[in-house]
């Protein structure tokens, strides 16, 4: 697999996304960041701390596990459930930014919207992703994109983050090389 994004590019992309989120929402006062486990949760933490550095105030960061809302549960082996942690102030009336690592078919985000609907009614829901690899199967788009990575369907994209994998990088390769 070849490296599509080295560590410095990932850091720059996250910084830019953080600024874009603040610009679009006019500050962080009504923001809630929700990462989709596993790697989206770590990205949400990072964006949260970058925003805190800019605004000098903490922004609520949580996680949202969407496994139970997936539409492919019959087609795949059972998946382990990850924690959902909604910040104590909730999401009612907030500007919620969903954060994930790779944006692909859009089905994860569809499931996330369903999962959110059961928790409350945010004022807006936005989507930030580190990599958009295309091939959408649903009419869903991202508001903040770290890097657009044109791929073919038989290629695979892997995001590695220091918190889990010991290194920051985005890899791209053909499925056979995995």
């Amino acid at each position: 697999m070849s490296v599509a994004l080295p560590p410095a590019d990932i850091a720059r992309a996250l910084t830019r996304i953080s600024h874009e989120i603040l610009e679009r929402n006019g500050g962080s006062s009504n923001l809630v960041l929700l990462g989709i486990p596993t790697r989206g949760a770590h990205l949400a933490q990072r964006i949260g701390s970058i925003i805190q550095g800019i605004e000098s105030r903490a922004v609520p960061v949580g996680t949202l596990d969407i496994t139970l809302h997936r539409d492919d549960l019959r087609l795949r082996p059972p998946r382990a459930l990850m924690p959902t942690k909604i910040p104590p102030a909730g999401i009612e009336g907030k500007d919620v930014v969903l954060i994930d690592d790779v944006f692909f078919s859009g089905r994860t985000i569809r499931a996330a919207l369903d999962a959110l609907g059961e928790i409350g009614r945010p004022r807006t829901v936005q989507l930030a992703v580190l990599v958009d690899r295309g091939h959408r199967e649903l009419p869903i788009r991202a508001d903040y994109v770290g890097k657009n990575l044109p791929t073919s369907l038989d290629q695979s994209v892997r995001v590695h983050l220091t918190e889990i994998d010991g290194v920051d990088e985005v890899l791209i390769g053909s499925t056979g090389s995995l």
Partner: protein
């Protein structure tokens, strides 16, 4: 894993995965919106040839919280009471398109028969077969023990659990001995010799006839119901003598370890194996076992009914 017939079907890591899943699913039971779309469109049949309150309602609540359609089927009021065989019943359920059958039956091995025969193709979950096994009960007991006594650890390493009473007739005891020892706990079974099965020495458990001696050393006491409906001969002289030696009363509770807990799979014979004040005391987690049962059974249904037709562990 397609069926859950016995604790022996589970490896240690599979058992822990079910407990972890149950931990996450427990928050659904606490949420105002107690419903997930996970098993939408699947049909689950509760086939109960033997009476049950807790297990049937618990499986029904679990299936409904995951949006499955539930059909309740009890022997009374069905063709089973007209003498229909298990085979014919199974074929009827197959024809109706049941994705899973949760079976409670008075015959040991009934669930296994249903799963291994070619009578139906769905998933079979054993909800108690005769005096053999009751795996979902053992899983919810392990979940309750882990939640109360293990401070975030995944297994039950270092725990000492006493299972007391009618071991002979108890499928709960069999499943619990298998599961708790698999998860690293030490298990002692305590009963009068007449209520211990032949071959108990081959179990992964210590055998004791002296309840009082064990009490100060255990982290949890699991009382079993005296199953008088299965007793067609005399197993102990009288109820008063049984209570005196093997019943849990407040005097015995006073000698229990600090932070130790009291469990009972229900239904209780208050005054026989457990006194009413002990059953309702602060150490008792008997009611909580019931609510944990729903989360654990949701986890069992989730694990067995997703990824249908895919060998476990296969990557897609």
């Amino acid at each position: 894993m397609k069926h859950l017939l016995s604790i022996n079907d589970l490896s240690q890591s599979e058992a822990i995965a079910i407990l972890d899943t149950a931990t996450e699913l427990a928050r659904v039971s606490d949420a105002p919106m107690k419903k997930l779309p996970t098993l939408r469109g699947r049909t689950i049949v509760n086939l109960f040839a033997e009476d049950s309150t807790r297990t049937r309602i618990s499986f029904e609540a679990a299936a409904k919280r995951l949006s499955a359609d539930v059909i309740n089927f009890s022997a009374k009021g069905s063709s089973v009471s007209k003498g229909e065989s298990l085979k014919d019943t199974a074929q009827t359920l197959q024809a109706m398109g049941a994705d899973a059958v949760i079976i409670r039956h008075q015959a040991s091995g009934a669930a296994h028969r249903l799963a291994t025969s070619k009578w139906m193709s769905g998933t079979v979950i054993n909800a108690g077969d005769g005096t053999h096994e009751h795996p979902s009960q053992a899983l919810l007991d392990a979940y309750t023990l882990r939640k109360h006594l293990m401070q975030g650890a995944k297994n039950l390493q270092g725990l000492h659990v006493a299972i007391v009473g009618d071991i002979l007739h108890s499928r709960v005891a069999r499943s619990n001995v298998l599961l708790l020892s698999k998860l690293g706990a030490t298990v002692s079974v305590v009963a009068p010799p007449t209520l211990l099965p032949v071959g108990v020495e081959s179990w992964n458990a210590h055998v004791s006839y002296d309840f009082d001696e064990l009490i100060p050393n255990v982290d949890a006491i699991m009382m079993l119901r005296v199953q008088s409906e299965r007793m067609n001969e005399l197993y102990f002289p009288n109820a008063r003598e049984y209570s005196r030696y093997f019943g849990l009363n407040s005097d015995r509770v006073k000698r229990m370890k600090k932070d130790s807990i009291i469990m009972h799979p229900g239904p209780m014979n208050r005054g026989l194996e457990i006194t009413a004040d002990v059953a309702d005391s602060a150490r008792s987690v008997i009611v909580e076992q019931v609510s944990n049962g729903v989360s654990v059974r949701m986890a069992i249904l989730y694990t067995l009914l997703t990824g249908e037709g895919i060998e476990s562990g296969a990557l897609v």
